[in-house]
């Protein structure tokens, strides 16, 4: 029983963090936000050069073969720096789905190595999301037709774009027609693939939300320490302290929930989906609170476009209902917790009932 990360995992996380600190600085975020495409090919290729597109791809396909637990750390960094890219969709959710395709699918291995080297951007059209993130800029779209999974080239779909409050989210309504040629899985297999994709997509959002919460807390702490009113830093006022202490507490108790969910997912535990929903709710709560207290501590400055906080708040608000809104995840929780004979209470936190 060891509920901690290895030094290697933490070191890799730190390395990625240092990389993003320089590559995804707020000024650069701003320019991508205000660009037409909302995407930076340069950024994407630098991410690929760092091997970040290859994290989930199996090693024999040229990837690093990392699991969900690694992504619980990685997605926090993506959130902390609010990178204006859907990296996790391609490199985590899509890579996981493609890797799980039956080997008969001819293109599978090609897609995997293209993902690994960063040649393709893959958009995932899971039914839980009414719109598809990056539908317009994707090279390949994984789309649902009932239980079926279809892999559709960009050229074969029409995309109507919808603007999100988070300008680094580029959403689109996709119209397309399923064909035998595009179908890569169906029936039981298709259901299973979509179920895994849902849990991975949800976990990716949870991790990013937690990273966003940590960043907004850091921004608020920095501001409160330097901004003076009534002759002293506002951070010395108890009301400000207590706002930020509450955010810190929410973060402290969301982190391990995220990690537990990632482990459950990586090990295919029966209760994994419930853990994932719990993580989404806990991390999004932390992010929501961090945004609220973050803007309050920033005062009027926090209400402006010029101050970085706004980009992190909007991302937190936008992600809150993506990959299943609160109602969706609360129902998954309720079903499990209120079920007859549910294994609740002391001793069931790690013991998985068969």
């Amino acid at each position: 029983m060891d509920f901690t990360f290895t030094d290697d995992q933490l070191a890799f996380r730190d390395a990625v963090g240092r990389f993003l600190m320089t590559e995804a600085a707020p000024e650069m975020l701003r320019s991508v936000w205000e660009s037409n495409s909302g995407r930076s090919p340069e950024l994407r290729s630098r991410l690929a050069a760092q091997g970040l597109t290859a994290l989930s791809v199996p090693e024999d396909k040229g990837g690093l073969g990392m699991d969900d637990v690694a992504w619980a750390l990685m997605t926090q960094e993506l959130g902390y720096y609010a990178i204006p890219d859907s990296l996790a969709d391609t490199a985590y959710v899509a890579a996981g789905l493609v890797a799980a395709l039956p080997s008969e699918v001819p293109a599978r291995d090609r897609w995997l190595s293209q993902i690994a080297v960063g040649d393709i951007r893959v958009a995932v059209g899971h039914p839980v999301n009414p719109l598809v993130a990056d539908a317009r800029s994707a090279d390949l779209l994984l789309l649902a037709h009932g239980d079926e999974v279809h892999a559709v080239p960009r050229a074969e779909v029409d995309v109507t774009v919808s603007a999100s409050i988070d300008l680094s989210r580029r959403l689109g309504r996709v119209s397309w027609s399923p064909t035998a040629a595009t179908r890569v899985a169906n029936g039981e297999a298709g259901r299973a693939l979509w179920a895994d994709a849902l849990d991975r997509g949800t976990l990716a959002v949870a991790g990013q939300a937690l990273g966003l919460a940590r960043r907004m807390l850091d921004l608020a702490v920095d501001y409160a320490a330097q901004r003076k009113q009534f002759g002293k830093p506002i951070g010395s006022f108890q009301a400000v302290k207590h706002h930020l202490a509450d955010v810190a507490t929410a973060i402290e108790f969301a982190k391990p929930v995220l990690y537990r969910a990632a482990y459950a997912l990586a090990h295919g535990e029966p209760g994994a989906s419930v853990r994932v929903s719990h993580a989404k709710l806990a991390c999004c709560d932390a992010a929501w609170l961090a945004a609220r207290h973050g803007i309050q501590v920033h005062g009027a400055m926090g209400y402006t476009w010029e101050v970085d906080l706004q980009m992190f708040m909007k991302r937190a608000w936008a992600l809150d209902a993506s990959w299943g809104d609160r109602g969706f995840h609360k129902s998954r929780l309720a079903e499990a917790i209120l079920a007859d004979g549910a294994a609740l209470g002391p001793g069931h936190t790690f013991e998985v009932q068969a």
Binding site: P130, G327, S331
Partner: protein, 391 residues
């Protein structure tokens, strides 16, 4: 206690309702934080004025119709209940207006108020400075009286001035006694924004629109006639206004009751999905109970004012109550809308009427606990002035 409206009050309600039914714009205006929207709203204000409905509480001579506070509440109920446009000149009309009535000379009242009622002059407020936000007494912008005593020379910087890039006039506090500090030595001045030496730099709000501006004052000449109240008495004069602002005038209950009604409709239209999160139904009921409580408190206060009471620190409870209520209602709407909540309302997909306005309102609600004195400051005021706790 008699909670029946008088025939006169009912007739007034009917008149306002009828006028709005005939005159409401068919198409929603653009945001008043844009030039286009600003002008649309300004034209609308002129039409209200022509019907003598822009400032119903003001004396007829100044363009109003001498309504009492009850009639004013009735007007607000009809106005916001009809979903009428926001009042683009309200900072001037509701912050400066009452101050002019109370502290202005007759000449000043006649010069400024009718044009303000007609929105011929658009007003922006000049309280905050880069280092004087919550701590308003830290104002450093100077207004030095000329040798001949004919005018002040203004130097300094104001900020968070709402829609100032579109406005004609600025009202605010300036330090007229350079040797003074804190609440002393401040004077309340009215500054034409086209005066030489005035530079206005827009500030983009959360929604990316120039909702505020910074105003730089570089040897700006302002005639002494533009001072309200005595020199050095600005703080006292302004606090009366601030009291009004925190209090009822700027935030009558009707707009929140209208939001609550829309929220109930939103919930009913999306009940199947909304009820998957049991907290939402409760939040929707609270929207009604809390907006209703706010309306009842308003009528109670108005009744006490009519009997000669004054609004004191309890005005601060209003500020806390409406700002946190407004935020909760919009958060609840976002939760009900789920994945549709993040979509800009001009986005095609969001064209489903349900979502319209909620995201904009949610963003604006973020500021409610910050402007007009942060809620932290308001809670201090309640504790110290209403409950008498030590500073």
């Amino acid at each position: 206690m008699d909670l029946a409206y008088t025939p006169k009050q009912r007739a007034f309600r009917a008149e306002v309702r009828a006028w709005l039914a005939n005159n409401l714009p068919r198409e929603p205006f653009a945001s008043c934080d844009t030039r286009e929207g600003f002008e649309q709203h300004r034209d609308w204000e002129r039409r209200l004025f022509d019907a003598r409905l822009s400032m119903v509480m003001w004396p007829e001579a100044l363009g109003g119709r001498g309504c009492d506070l009850i009639e004013w509440l009735i007007f607000e109920e009809e106005y916001y209940g009809a979903g009428a446009p926001m009042r683009v000149n309200q900072n001037g009309q509701l912050l400066l207006g009452p101050t002019l009535m109370e502290f202005g000379t007759e000449a000043q009242r006649n010069r400024f108020l009718p044009r303000m009622a007609a929105s011929e002059d658009m007003w922006a407020q000049g309280w905050s400075e880069p280092n004087a936000g919550s701590d308003m007494a830290a104002i450093t912008s100077k207004a030095i009286l000329s040798q001949d005593g004919s005018h002040y020379v203004l130097n300094g910087q104001k900020t968070w001035s709402t829609r100032a890039i579109f406005a004609d006039w600025l009202f605010g506090l300036f330090r007229s006694d350079p040797a003074s500090s804190r609440h002393h030595g401040l004077s309340y001045l009215l500054v034409p924004l086209d005066a030489p030496g005035v530079t206005i730099r827009p500030i983009q709000a959360l929604n990316g629109k120039p909702a505020f501006a910074e105003i730089f004052l570089d040897d700006v000449k302002v005639p002494v006639d533009n001072r309200i109240g005595d020199e050095g008495e600005g703080w006292h004069v302004a606090m009366a206004t601030a009291g009004f602002e925190r209090g009822l005038l700027l935030r009558s209950p009707a707009r929140y009751q209208y939001t609550a009604r829309r929220l109930v409709e939103l919930y009913k239209a999306n009940r199947a999905t909304a009820d998957r999160d049991p907290s939402l139904r409760d939040a929707v009921l609270s929207a009604w109970t809390h907006t209703e409580a706010y309306a009842l408190a308003a009528y109670h206060t108005v009744g006490r004012l009519a009997k000669g009471a004054r609004i004191g620190a309890e005005a601060s409870t209003n500020k806390i109550f409406w700002s946190e209520l407004d935020l909760r209602m919009h958060e609840t709407a976002m939760r009900i809308l789920g994945p549709r909540a993040e979509l800009m309302t001009d986005a095609p997909h969001a064209a489903d009427a349900d979502a319209a306005g909620w995201l904009d309102g949610f963003l604006f609600a973020q500021a409610g606990s910050i402007y007009a004195g942060t809620n932290e400051i308001q809670r201090n005021i309640i504790a110290e002035r209403m409950l008498g706790l030590p500073k």
